[in-house]
Amino acid sequence: MLLWLLVFLGGALIVVGRQTAAFKTARQLRDLRETRGSLEARRAELERRIRVASSREVLVPAARRGLGLHEPADSEFVLFAVPSPAAGVSR
């Protein structure tokens, strides 16, 4: 009889232990999801700010004002065609 009681108690303890661990893991998972969501929101905000800061709307007037630059006519730049390795460039 005592043995059965011990078996029952042991079984019950295992169930309770597993449930507790599962709840703890679920809580950790939720925390991690929340942290990830928060970090993703932060990243998105930073990306947005980078995009705005590097847009032509911001950069072009700043370059014009601060550095005296202007948007070039096509006569003011040269496109270099980089030879591909297949064209016989050796090292």
Partner: protein, 656 residues
């Protein structure tokens, strides 16, 4: 007094009856009402919750996010659950940006529940998650990182629910919308919810991501160029379209409408929705009909009437006065007619065509029908059938670009066919569709509609365009110094509310760039410019400026390796032209003898599993541009390994 045995029997009977009653009740509860009570118990202990699914994002062709969904939160506060209204309130005020005076008034007003809709970002609410008395409800909010960029095309969502209401958000709604999930939350006696280990019944499935054909950099160039031009010309509005004629991909679409004193707004995608009478940009289509039906050869000439012609339109002698802005004496060939944009010349040439032939040509170029692009509220334009025409009158009008309406996109597609050796392609705004896991579900391939004109006729038409944009042509102002473009100007009296408005014009310019191997079709349309109103003086210089900016930007999707054949010897001569005054003092010529570049499409190499550095090197060697998504080892690429792509194409590399 009964005998003891009787009393015992009575007690036993009583017990037996009680036991029977208990058993009967148990049987009733378990066997007959078990499901109902079980359900009620579940309802008391658990709560079903809908897990919102993330809506798919819209990205430009290089992966720049244009519309994405992000987690946002609404905040509910139970003041009686707050342990310290003062300190907690100040924390809430600081995190959510709600003025303390407002928050304090709300919290002390005796309400049981204070709700702030927000929406608040995950960053804002992070430090409030563990605070007793604060209840967060999560939702997704559409977010447009590039603010107003291409917004009329992208559209938006309805206010009530996260579904498309306009633009691509509407037409791609079924692709972007995900499937919501479902979860069970456990509740304690007080009704507080907490996570259960097996809470999710059905995971939410995010919507698919759509990579558009739009090039964000080129879009910005188009929008800024249009804004500057409209302000300078004090115009009523305008449109710009950039199209890749080889694939039908729409690269940039800018629209602006006047908003009175507050400047200009992009309230609608008029590139798709607003037809206009194209004026002289349509002369080329009559020329195409004349060439196809062999009603003209290169030596044919018509008398230019000195710039004013009384065209007979009935046998009874009623005439219509047709004038040319560029007064021409003598005679004109068809090529010269296009070059100087002679209304008289094209009206005379058009008399050689039957109405049906002229109509079919315009129809074949796609006018009067939907282009098939994914935009939801596209206009089909206006093109009457020949039986509705006033025979002589309408034929001349159509040849001059009047009495029919085209959208800027339709015009771009038609010019795209001329650039593409006569093959009309369906324009598209969708380049790729990807699953939430990044798997490729759809990739756009050019969709031919019909061969409108043979390649030889298309080549002839491009020659005409070269003349029109060359020296002495009406589009001369569009020419660049080192690169040649093809183009045709248009200036039409505005047609509004069923009548022509005297003194108001629509100026336009249609260009193919570069001349030898067009990669771009550019349409610029300016509504009612003040002062100078000819397309050659308004829209053409705007085209030149935008092309210069596109060329100078390394991020714009132009395959510069295809410029290898540019005649660099033209530069010194061109430097003495009218544009020389705008040049910098140091002008670089072409010092570099460019090697012949293989223009054929190339195979995207297999780089899966390689470190990103090695993969990028390999892709660069193949002539591709590389955009990295993550670090470590490559998990996949787009275009995928084994696919073909033109040199200069951006390959997106995902790494874990």
């Amino acid at each position: 007094m009964a005998k003891p045995l009787v009393r015992i029997a009575a007690v036993q009977l009583g017990f037996a009856l009680v036991i029977v009653a208990i058993l009967a009740r148990a049987a009733q509860l378990q066997l007959f009402q078990g499901e109902r009570w079980g359900e009620q118990a579940r309802r008391q202990r658990t709560e079903r919750a809908v897990l919102p699914a993330r809506r798919g994002g819209l990205f430009d062709r290089n992966g720049v996010p244009l519309a994405v969904s992000q987690e946002f939160y609404h905040v509910g506060i139970a003041p009686n659950e707050l342990t310290d209204v003062g300190s907690t309130g100040r924390l809430i005020s600081r995190q959510l940006g709600i003025p303390w005076s407002v928050l304090s008034r709300d919290l002390r007003a005796g309400k049981r529940w204070v709700y702030y809709h927000g929406p608040f970002s995950a960053t804002q609410v992070q430090s409030l998650r563990r605070v007793s008395g604060i209840h967060l409800s999560q939702d997704y909010q559409r977010f447009y990182p590039s603010r107003l960029l291409a917004r009329p095309i992208i559209g938006g969502l309805s206010a009530e629910r996260e579904s498309g209401a306009a633009g691509l958000e509407l037409s791609l709604d079924s692709i972007l919308t995900g499937a919501p999930g479902e979860a069970v939350l456990l509740k304690d006696r007080a009704g507080r919810r907490y996570d259960s280990p097996a809470r999710v019944i059905r995971e939410p499935v995010a919507g698919n991501d759509v990579v558009l054909t739009i090039d964000a950099e080129l879009q910005e160039i188009a929008e800024r160029g249009l804004d500057d031009a409209l302000s300078r010309m004090d115009a009523d509005g305008g449109d710009v379209v950039f199209l890749d004629p080889n694939t039908g991909e729409l690269l940039a679409l800018a629209s602006r409408q006047s908003a009175g004193r507050s400047g200009y707004t992009a309230s609608r995608a008029s590139t798709f929705t607003d037809p206009f009478e194209p004026g002289s940009t349509a002369k080329l289509f009559t020329a195409a009909a004349l060439l196809i039906h062999q009603r003209v050869d290169s030596s044919d000439r018509v008398f230019a009437e000195g710039g004013t012609w009384h065209m007979p339109i009935t046998s009874s002698g009623i005439t219509r006065v047709i004038t040319d802005a560029h007064k021409t004496t003598g005679t004109l060939t068809l090529a010269q007619t296009i070059q100087v944009s002679s209304n008289i010349g094209i009206a005379k040439f058009s008399s050689r065509l039957a109405p049906e032939e002229q109509f079919e040509m315009l129809r074949d170029f796609g006018f009067g029908t939907l282009t098939g692009a994914e935009f939801p509220s596209e206009s089909r334009g206006r093109l009457a059938r020949p039986d509705k025409w006033q025979p002589m009158y309408t034929r001349a009008s159509l040849a001059m670009g009047y009495e029919f309406g085209v959208t800027p996109v339709q015009l771009a597609v038609a010019y795209g066919a001329i650039a593409n050796n006569g093959m009309l392609l369906t324009p598209t705004l969708v380049r790729e569709i990807r699953s939430p896991q990044g798997d490729l579900l759809y990739r756009h391939h050019p969709e031919p509609v019909r061969q409108v004109v043979p390649p030889s006729v298309a080549a002839k038409l491009r020659e005409y365009l070269k003349g029109a944009a060359g020296e002495g042509g009406t589009g001369e102002e569009a020419q660049l110094v080192n690169y040649t473009l093809l183009g045709k100007t248009g200036t039409a009296v505005r047609f509004e509310n069923g009548r022509y408005v005297r003194g108001e014009y629509t100026a336009s310019f249609a260009a193919l760039f570069p001349a030898d191997d067009p990669q771009l079709v550019v349409i610029v349309k300016i509504d009612n410019p003040q002062g100078k109103y000819y397309g050659g003086l308004t829209a053409a210089p705007v085209t030149r400026t935008m092309l210069q900016q596109a060329l100078a930007s390394r991020r714009v999707a132009i395959d510069r390796s295809r410029f290898a054949d540019v005649d660099t010897g033209a530069a010194p001569e061109a430097q003495t032209s009218s544009t020389a005054a705008t040049m910098a003092r140091l002008v670089l010529s072409w010092p570099y003898s460019t090697p012949k570049v293989n223009r054929a499409v190339r195979l995207v190499p297999e780089v899966e599993g390689r470190p990103v550095r090695e993969a990028a090197l390999l892709l660069h060697r193949q002539g591709f541009r590389v955009t990295l998504r993550g670090l470590g080892r490559v998990s996949k690429t787009a275009p995928a390994a084994g696919d073909t792509a033109a040199p200069g194409t951006t390959v997106v590399v995902w790494a874990d």
